[in-house]
Symmetry: C2
Amino acid sequence: MSARTRSLTHTHPTEVSLQDALDAVGDPVRRAILRELAAAPDWTRACGTFDLPVSKATRSHHFTVLRGAGLVEQRDEGARRLNRLRRPEFDRRFPGLLDLVLAEPGTEPGREPATEPGTEPAPEPATEPAPARDGSP
Amino acid sequence: MSARTRSLTHTHPTEVSLQDALDAVGDPVRRAILRELAAAPDWTRACGTFDLPVSKATRSHHFTVLRGAGLVEQRDEGARRLNRLRRPEFDRRFPGLLDLVLAEPGTEPGREPATEPGTEPAPEPATEPAPARDGSP
DNA sequence: TACAGTGTTCGATGCCCGTCGACCATAGCA
DNA sequence: TGCTATGGTCGACGGGCATCGAACACTGTA
C-alpha cells in the first residue's frame, strides 16, 4: 500500500454528527458531486471526472469533507482515485437526508428550472390559521 | 392589524429551496429552537421563552430565518409573538429532514452526551470492500 | 402619561469556510 | 529517465453569516 493510500482516512456514517452531515450536504458543489455519483455505478467515477465549476484544489477539499461525513468511500486505482456513494450506510444513519439531496433538481447544463421548489402552492390550513383570536367577534 | 403584524411575512414550505432549508437547519441554535418548539403545543411559546445562549437580537434574527424557510409560523398576541412549528407542511416538502433535527440529542442542560452519534459501530461490508482489485492475486 | 415587557432594526465586528494559484507527490508510459 | 495525468497540500484571500450593543417601536398596565 502506497503512502498516498495510507493517508486516506474514512469516517463511518455511524460516527458522524448531524451537524457534520448537514454541513457536508449544505454546500451546492458537494450536492452536485453526490448526485453525479449516485447516477453512476460504484467505483466507476474518479475525482477528476466530475463536472464542477471549481478548481481541482477546491474539488479535492470537497471530497475530503464528503469522506469525513461518511458520504463517500474512496479507493486508489493507479493514479486515479475512484469513488463510491455510501448510500445504504448513510441512509441508515440519517434516513431521508440523502434522498432529499438526490431528488434536488440541480443545475443540469442546458436548462434552468422554471419553478424550482415544490409544485403545489396549496394554502393548506394546518392547526389553526392565525387570525381571529379569543371569543371577541 | 398593527404595522408590527403587517410586516410579518411568511414563506410556505412549498416555496422553499433545499438550499434554504439546509441553511436554516444547519445552525445549532435554530435546531434547538425547533426541538423546543416541537415539545410544546402550538401557539404556546413566545420568542422570549426559549432557552438560548444568544442575545435577543440574534434570537430575533434566527426566528426570521426559520420563518423564511417555512419552518415556523408566527402570530402576534399582544406584546408577545407566539410560534407554531409547521411540521406537516414542512414534512410534506422535505420528508425526513425535520425528523432528523428533532431526533438529535441536543444539549440538554445538566448532562453531556456520552457517544453522540449512532449506537452501532458495525463494520458493515457494503458493495465491495476496497482492497483486491482486478483478477491478479 | 409614564413605565415595564417584548421584539425588531441597525451598524459593526469577528470568524469560519469556500476558493484559488502554486507547488509537490505518485502512477503509468515512451 | 523524462514526460504527462491525476490528485493532494499549503498559504492567502474574500465574502457571508452569526453575534452583539444600542436605539427604536409596540402592547398592556399602573
